[in-house]
Amino acid sequence: MKVLIVDDSMAMRMIIRRSFCQAGFEGVEFLEAPNGAAALGLFDPHAVDLVLSDWNMPEMDGITFAKEVRKKNRETAGSRRIPIIMVTSEGGEKKRNELLYAGVDGYLCKPFTPQMLESEVNNVLKKTEATVHDR
């Protein structure tokens, strides 16, 4: 599985990578970008299986990035709909609705344990009919 991590915090990118390993995901390759604009340059719907993105970032925030990804999906015939999980420290119903409206599939609230990450990744991938890994 190829996972694109989009976050301006090096610390959070390390935490997410480590959490995938601690949760038992095997064979995961990580691509990383410090903001939405850089991530769009890396994003290829044929080469990425999952995106985890921070919300508040310089240059292009997570919501704008998610909308751009969905736009690319619509404009490219036959492209896969890549699941996006937003990682944020701010919770609440209003925020969740804003994410759903932007085309985000899942939501991970900081702080999170590896088990919380595993649960949300599995939920999102099941929803988009992808296989995570066998346990």
Binding site: S9, A11, I15, R18, S89, E90, C109, K110, F112
Partner: protein, 163 residues
């Protein structure tokens, strides 16, 4: 209650947020300090607050505790202030500020949060303008962690203020 930020409500939000972050993400035990100890903080993470309410959220610690926090966060050993340690403190501050905002329910919608900045070395925090500083201290492995929230009095901006 929505829309009103009281000192007690903010103190509860600070305590709930810091305890949740340290226990969930760092697996470090943290308890409120009750002895009013004076501490020299050598590193502070600061997140700005702007919008309906202006101010900042700061997470402050000694160099030793900051290194311990980074060690727990990254599962690596740090014994002085490195780039990774600064990043760890910045991220902790970011999480604390976001969690405080969530804990305030609708009142948290009053403000936006900036990306974190980190100050290292001998320093003190001084907030310009009239306002209220709400601070809590915690004990982590015999070290002291400080969290403070400064809110500018809205009366200075021609409106009512936090109570």
């Amino acid at each position: 209650m929505t829309g009103e930020i009281t000192v007690e409500r903010m103190k509860r939000a600070i305590t709930c947020s810091i305890e949740n972050i340290f226990r969930t993400m760092l697996n470090m035990e943290i308890v409120p300090a009750d002895d009013g100890r004076a501490t020299v903080f050598m590193i502070s993470g600061i997140v700005g607050i702007s919008g309906g309410v202006n101010g900042y959220v700061a997470v402050r610690s000694s160099s030793r505790l900051a290194a311990r926090i980074a060690s727990a966060m990254f599962a690596s050993e740090y014994d002085n202030i490195t780039t990774e340690v600064k990043d760890a403190i910045g991220e902790i501050t970011n999480m604390v500020a976001g969690n405080i905002k969530s804990h305030l329910d609708g009142a948290g919608d009053l403000f936006n949060l900036s990306p974190p900045s980190v100050v290292v070395g001998n320093h003190e925090l001084y907030a310009g303008g009239r306002g209220i500083v709400i601070g809590e201290t915690f004990i982590v492995h015999d070290d002291t962690l400080g969290v403070e929230v400064f809110l500018q009095l809205l009366e200075q901006r021609g409106e009512g203020g936090p109570s």
